[in-house]
Symmetry: C2
Subunit: 445 residues, 2 copies
């Protein structure tokens, strides 16, 4: 047979066991935090009907969508591009079984045929939590809080959750006197503040023909010091409170600040950022974005906000919805970089290698392993008796197992086992019935 | 906007939270059992290069494979059809990082465009555990043992793991004098024993022109009583030991019996079944299949066996490999049917609904929820203060939450909380600092 070439598709990855333990740990912590707030897991098919995906993301994005079909299939399918349109479809399909408010989380892969690059993949995990059915900003505050709780539980300390609202952005435009048809352009410019600074934004707007007076009024607001959240919101209130949309935005941010505090979010980890826009067109209210700030600005690990129209895609009437997406792929990378994984994740979950003396004693090694497992200790039997004891111990060390148990004919006759701690080569001869207990004691050290 | 129709693709399923809790429980138990034997998790992309999948499954199967591509993509991709070819590809691609023996498990969806039917889906989860690099039957016995351990841990009692080997099947053919070119047909007939009985098989073979004497010799062997495994293997040894391939097969089954016993597998849950063939062409040695036997024969929940050639697909030289696949979708259905889920899985994982008295007290409810979470109790805040207390409690009951916490202005002033146990409507007024502890005590009852 002509051999096939072992190769993963471009931009897609295999994960080895050592990767998997880390990923499962992160998913596990996040799941636990989500569930502690009342978010519940759902799952949807990897593929959706093609016509339900196309038309929702814009032409550029849609070029990246994977289309799929089997030879005799009649349905045109497409692999999901995100977890948000599937949520809308899911909700509409099952709403009779879903009491409101409906909080769901979904941790699952999505596919985008982008040019692969550092940290950019064609298959990657998204991790979304959303609340459907609550108009009040309490829901947005809960989303911010769940991000705070998840990052804190994972061990991150130096991060900032930036908060803004689309309504305030619109209000700023109105206040400054930006004509309606220039609002989109205004947002696109403001969105670049991170990269080019407010002066850069001002210059760009001036180049585009916006009146200098308008620009000055706006940049003055966008550049306000926000360390004292209550003070800056009071200032905005005085300045722009007469503009209805601005007033609504200010009230949203006041509620967001009040409720995140009630949820126990440390004020030092949140920030009002009036220049934060977030690209996606579908946001209608508060928006959030989280960056890891130390040892340096390591980029965004979370995005989200309120999108009150999207659930209406598959439904006569839309429902208020707000949510967040954790950038779990980047979080996983940062966990390594910042050394946040607990020791238990770095070690092998296999506690003991039971070595094999020879063919005749193989069954005895299996019995010992079964005894250990029944006592709650995970135990792998080395199944190849032809390999030397040294080779077998080397295998255990290579895989990071903490202990090895040796049972030869002498040990068998005496009812004992030689137990080796591989880190320091400490060895003890132990009554067979006490092996599990000793392993447990060594693990707890 | 014209509304889209909320519809999942044919044969593909959404899972609601109540489904997900059950599925996650089953995956969790299986993962734990796999890891306790030293099997390690891996993950591969959902899509493989099309040319790496096609040509491995036969023409009929290949019609069912989903082909995928994004608009500007150059690679022709296909969604995986099983987890075995991806294992071969994965192993060849990473073998330098994978010490032998390599035990991996993989729980992940696969796609087949079959006609959907009862228990047959186009997207379904496979759950495979395999050992690469061990020639000895000890590895096969470990695979049988891990099936036994997983089913037992899930609560199944009445199941039978049938064991046979391809070598003995060949040996029976040689012994009976079946011409080589009729062996394939012979297997196909024997494979029908479950449905048409040995008499039916005999008739079919006679109709196909096989000599009656040959048929009689064979049916005599296939129909041997196998209750006493050691006795029947000794009988086969005396009868067929002179035929080399039969001798090898008998030795394999002797080892399988000896080693599964050593691993602690109850002899009552295993059976030698000389008529068990298993369809897949790639098996080369021992084969296994598990059926749930009570309250009636509920069908197969596991298949597997040794396939020493398959790893060679992507590699100059093949390596001995054996493995099992748990029919996790059917297991999940049977768990419900046999009522095997523990109470904790049937209940909501959200312990407390913190109700909301009015807008002014919403922040107080959030604070209480945060206090409970910090004490390890999961707590959902009802975020809509306009809803009556009755509606809020109804929501909690509908979702199966065990408790509700009520905090109004009186309770706030007195530093207490009204805690309600929803199952029996028992209510207590409790110091705020003691709420978590009381919830925990009620949960433990």
């Amino acid at each position: 047979m002509s051999k096939l070439k072992p190769k993963t598709p471009k931009g897609m990855r295999d994960f080895l066991p050592s990767d998997m333990y880390k990923r499962e740990y992160v998913y596990g912590v996040v799941r636990e935090v989500f569930e502690s707030f009342g978010f519940e897991p759902i799952s949807t098919p990897v593929m959706e009907l093609e016509k339900n995906l196309m038309g929702n993301y814009g032409a550029d994005a849609e070029k990246l969508i994977y289309h799929a079909k089997h030879t005799e299939g009649k349905e045109q399918l497409a692999l999901r591009y995100d977890l948000t349109v599937p949520l809308s479809r899911f909700f509409a399909e099952h709403e009779n079984e879903l009491p409101l408010p409906f909080r769901r989380y979904h941790i699952a892969p999505v596919w985008r045929g982008e040019r692969p690059g550092r940290g950019r993949y064609r298959e990657f995990i998204q991790c979304d939590a959303d609340i459907v059915g609550i108009k009040g900003i309490a829901a947005d505050a809960e989303c911010v809080s769940v991000v705070y709780a998840a990052l804190t539980r994972l061990g991150f300390q130096d991060f900032t959750i930036k908060m803004n609202t689309r309504k305030l952005l619109t209000g700023v435009g109105v206040y400054a006197g930006v004509p309606d048809d220039q609002l989109g352009e205004l947002y696109r410019s403001i969105d670049k503040t991170d990269k080019i600074g407010l002066e850069g934004v001002a210059k760009e707007l001036a180049d585009s023909g916006m009146a200098q007076e308008v620009i000055d009024r706006m940049v003055g607001l966008l550049g306000l010091q926000t360390d004292d959240k209550d003070a800056v919101l009071a200032h905005l209130q005085a300045e722009m409170g007469h503009i209805e949309i601005a007033q609504e935005g200010i009230q949203e941010l006041q509620d967001l600040v009040k409720y995140t505090r009630a949820f126990g979010v440390d004020d030092a980890n949140t920030m009002l950022d009036f220049t934060m826009v977030r690209g996606l067109g579908y946001y209608t209210g508060p928006i959030f974005e989280t960056v890891i700030t130390k040892p340096e600005n390591l980029g965004s690990v979370q995005g989200g906000g309120r999108y009150d129209e999207l659930i209406g895609l598959f439904r006569h009437q839309s429902l208020p919805t707000t949510g967040i997406s954790l950038g779990i792929e980047r979080i996983i990378d940062l966990m390594d970089q910042l050394d946040l994984y607990p020791e238990s994740v770095k070690q092998s979950p296999i506690h003991v290698l039971v070595t094999v003396f020879d063919d005749n004693l193989l069954a005895e090694s299996m019995k010992l392993a079964a005894e250990l497992r029944n006592a709650g200790v995970s135990a792998e039997v080395y199944l190849d008796p032809r390999k030397s004891l040294g080779k077998q111990l080397g295998y255990a060390e290579g895989k990071g197992m903490p202990c090895a148990a040796i049972i030869g004919s002498d040990e068998l006759a005496q009812g004992v086992v030689k137990l080796k701690r591989l880190a320091d080569r400490h060895e003890e001869t132990i009554q067979r019935g006490d092996v599990a207990q000793t392993v447990q004691a060594w693990l707890d050290q």
